[in-house]
């Protein structure tokens, strides 16, 4: 198995773990942690492909990951602000109980 395949499998596992956490946990913050893990797994994918590509001097992989890290940090900040605001209103951070719009 080539090193590229090894990194891709690692990234696939991280993505699956993040997905499992995001879909099964009750607390909204853990869901956000799962989403961050998924983003990081995708970043690892990009860097692995950049490293083993034919034209690494084009720096596309690195550029994408730099922007992705920045945007993910911004999204984490806004997401956590939302969770804090929801907690202030519903007095809970439990995703099952924030269901006022349920039909």
């Amino acid at each position: 198995m080539s090193p590229l395949a090894a990194y891709l499998i690692l990234s696939a596992f991280l993505f699956a773990i993040g997905l499992a956490g995001a879909l099964t946990r009750r607390n909204a913050i853990i869901v956000l942690i799962g989403i961050e893990l998924m983003l990081n797994a995708a970043n690892l994918n990009f860097i692995a492909f950049w490293r083993f590509s034919d034209h690494p001097e084009a720096l596309t992989g690195i550029m994408f990951v730099i922007f992705s890290i920045g945007v993910a940090a911004a999204e984490a900040a806004v997401g956590l602000a939302l969770i804090i605001a929801i907690y202030r209103h519903y007095k809970t951070a439990n995703v099952d109980e924030v269901n006022s719009l349920k039909g």
Binding site: L10, F15, R25, E75, A77, D96
Partner: protein
């Protein structure tokens, strides 16, 4: 080389599993920090120095602390009384297994499995800076705008409402 990759991989996956399955939320956040550090080590192993250090600076130094603060502000530090799993968790596990299966199958069947590894590229920070200012200047400016909007938005959303009851 392979030993280092094996250590990084096992450490990161163990930390990620711990982050997703522990009961105590602060322990989850700390395990996530270890996972981030493991990923930074993987980036350094792949030769992307700048990205590795940026990952440490942004994720371990800022996002992990944000998550910890949010856990404390939403009273998550007390141990939960009910189960940690939400309703409908079997469907989640099912979807995850299908996604993982598809990904691993796709990787295994593709042509990259047997390819040889090319030489390590030498990337200096100067090249990254040049690229950021010439080829990628538009995304750079847009990200700046986005970060400003996110900053202001996060502050406004999380601010206490004044004047209301």
């Amino acid at each position: 080389m392979n030993i280092i990759f094996a250590i990084i991989a096992v450490g990161t996956i163990a930390a990620a599993v711990a982050a997703m399955s522990l009961r105590n939320l602060v322990h989850c956040a700390l395990a996530l920090t270890v996972a981030f550090a493991g990923l930074a080590a993987a980036y350094l192993q792949l030769g992307a120095q700048f990205v590795g250090f940026t990952q440490l600076l942004v994720y371990v130094g800022a996002v992990a602390i944000l998550i910890v603060f949010a856990i404390l502000l939403t009273r998550g530090s007390e141990p939960p009384q009910q189960s940690v799993l939400s309703s409908g968790w079997p469907a989640g596990i099912f979807v995850t297994v299908i996604v993982l299966g598809v990904l691993v199958y796709a990787i295994g069947k593709s042509s990259i499995v047997q390819a040889a590894a090319p030489a390590q590229p030498e990337v200096t920070v100067r090249q990254i800076g040049d690229a950021l200012m010439n080829k990628f200047v538009l995304p750079l400016e847009v990200v700046g705008l986005l970060l400003t909007a996110a900053l202001i938005g996060a502050v406004i959303i999380a601010m206490k409402e004044e004047g209301k009851k």
